[in-house]
């Protein structure tokens, strides 16, 4: 599925939710591609999850690319489970408020990589916001 979310040309609120299923320490940052600032980030106690929150106004988000960046540390996970943790990582970004309503985008195999002897997973979900 293409990572595109259609928006209305009005000032309606667009919301986002990020659901992360992992056995590691996780952090999620949502930002606009190319921007220094962050729009949203997960709270430490939510371990990468972001509850349904306001992302921005529809007409301000048109023609931007929203990225949910994830970093996951797998300290304390046995070596023989590191690949399983990578394979089974579940990340679902859900957008609300566009003309097509609620739409979910799952992280695919090409959107995550392992680092630091497989103890670190970095993943990113990019979604183009089009009119």
């Amino acid at each position: 599925m293409e990572n595109i979310y259609r928006l209305k040309k009005d000032n309606s609120e667009i919301k986002i939710k990020v659901k992360v299923g992992t056995i590691g320490n996780a952090s999620t940052i949502v930002s606009e591609k190319g921007a220094v600032g962050e729009i949203l980030k997960s709270r430490p106690e939510d371990n990468g999850n972001i509850n349904k929150r306001k992302l921005g106004l529809s007409d301000e988000l048109i023609n931007t690319t929203i990225i949910a960046d994830l970093a996951i540390l797998l300290d304390g996970v046995p070596k023989n489970q590191l690949d399983q943790a990578f394979e089974n990582l579940f990340v679902r970004v859900t957008l609300f408020g566009g003309p097509d309503g609620e739409q979910s985008f799952d992280i695919g195999p090409g959107e995550k990589l392992q680092f630091n002897d497989k103890k670190l997973i970095v993943a990113a979900k990019e979604i183009k916001m089009i009119p």
């Binding site: 320490n25 430490p44 970093a71």
Partner: protein, 407 residues
């Protein structure tokens, strides 16, 4: 030069003692085996396939069967089925046996859709059964041709499971573990945020690679310290744990399904209790007192059952049933430990043949996974039953000192 000879001869001498000792019952034989299917067949495979996904498992298994052109020979598989699948609701708390206390959440009001920071009381409880998720299945085969013990070719296939059913941890350790998860998450996010800024203009895999490399090379002292704390709390020895395993095997004469016979069946239960020699008050005051505690009194309980259809010709079979029941109490002072172990062995076929093993064990940890071991006492059987075992014992991995029945 002379000194080197003395050391070498002493070392070889000790190994000699150890090798002699191996003719008797090994301590390792009595604990819940790491891979029960392979232990049951007295077989140590050179390579064990550990597929991480259902796809990898199916591919490996089909390839093994196809290569054999029938009942496969000499293979070893080991895996945890639970981790074959994605678990969208899985998180680090559940994985480490922590569950959100619903009472504490009821005390808090927060708006799910509010963008403002929400203060959430974080009170967690233990899920002592969390080890069940990592239940491990193993199966393997050993092919022995007719030149070996039996006059026919026999392919032995074994299948087993092993699991940790209870793992109870110190309450203070659990609270600290929870706090450390939050601290690591905060520190990780700070480092991730810096990395993201450096890679902000990139997209796709280039971006992921850039962020991953930036986090990997980060020298952030807070992240480093919080990760260390998390591991320290995680490695605190459980107060109580229970492990079970069951394994069974079938022998196929001439590798034929029609000529099969149940071979060995075994079951193991191990209970372990670890009491640190530090007061609860001191632990409550400062958890470091528990982390740094090197002195323990450990108690272990063992139950093992083993059944076998013994044969010399694959025609006439004799049933052998054996039950081991016993325990061990161990005093551990940093690198040094001594313990007394007593096991009662009951032979169901020959009531008069019940026997027991009672030994004292002294162990000194020379360095990580390398121990000097001494055992003295009475082994099973009524004749030739003196145990005098002295030598080195070394292993690989994260073997805990002085917990032979531990997983």
């Amino acid at each position: 030069m002379m000194m080197r000879h003395i050391i070498l001869h002493s070392f070889l001498g000790l190994l000699g003692f150890n090798a002699f000792g191996q003719k008797t019952t090994e301590l390792a034989d009595l604990k819940v085996p790491v891979s029960p299917a392979f232990s049951l067949l007295d077989f140590a495979p050179k390579t064990i396939e550990s597929p991480g996904t259902i796809k990898a498992f199916t591919t490996s298994f089909v390839a093994t069967v196809a290569k054999a052109g029938g009942i496969p020979k000499n293979f070893a598989f080991e895996f945890s089925p639970y981790w074959f699948f994605k678990h969208p609701n899985m998180d680090i708390y559940k994985y480490h046996g922590l569950i959100v206390d619903p009472v504490s959440l009821n005390e808090v009001s927060f708006t799910e859709e509010d963008n403002a920071p929400v203060k959430k009381i974080f009170n967690l409880k233990q899920n002592i059964f969390y080890g069940l998720r990592s239940t491990n299945l193993s199966f393997g085969s050993v092919f022995k041709d007719s030149s070996k013990k039996l006059p026919v070719d026999v392919n032995y296939i074994a299948y087993a499971f092993r699991t940790n059913i209870i793992n109870l941890r110190n309450k203070n350790a659990v609270n600290k573990l929870t706090e450390s998860i939050l601290s690591v998450n905060s520190a990780l996010q700070k480092v991730q945020s810096e990395a993201r800024k450096k890679c902000k203009d990139l997209g796709g895999r280039e971006r992921i690679k850039c962020i991953g490399e930036e986090i990997t090379k980060s020298k952030d002292s807070v992240l480093k310290a919080t990760r260390k704390n998390f591991m320290d709390y995680l490695m605190i020895r459980p107060v109580f744990s229970a492990d079970i395993a069951f394994a069974s095997s079938t022998a196929f004469g001439n590798n034929s399904i029609s000529n099969s016979k149940s071979y060995r069946t075994g079951g193991w239960i191990t209970l372990a209790y670890n009491q640190p020699l530090v007061s609860a008050k001191k632990v409550k005051e400062n958890i470091s007192n528990l982390i740094e505690c090197k002195n323990y009194v450990n108690a272990f309980f063992l139950f093992r059952i083993l059944k076998e259809n013994a044969t010399n010709d694959f025609k006439i079979f004799t049933k052998k049933n054996m039950i081991d029941l016993g325990g061990r109490i161990e005093f551990e002072f940093d690198k040094f430990s001594f313990s007394i172990e007593s096991i009662k062995r009951m032979d169901n076929n020959k009531k008069g043949m019940n026997t027991s093993r009672t030994v004292g064990i002294i162990q000194y940890k020379i360095w990580k996974d390398f121990f000097l071991l001494g055992t003295f006492g009475k082994d099973f059987s009524e004749i030739n039953n003196l145990v005098t075992l002295f030598g080195f014992n070394w292993g690989f991995g994260e073997n805990a000192l002085n917990t032979p029945f531990n997983k």
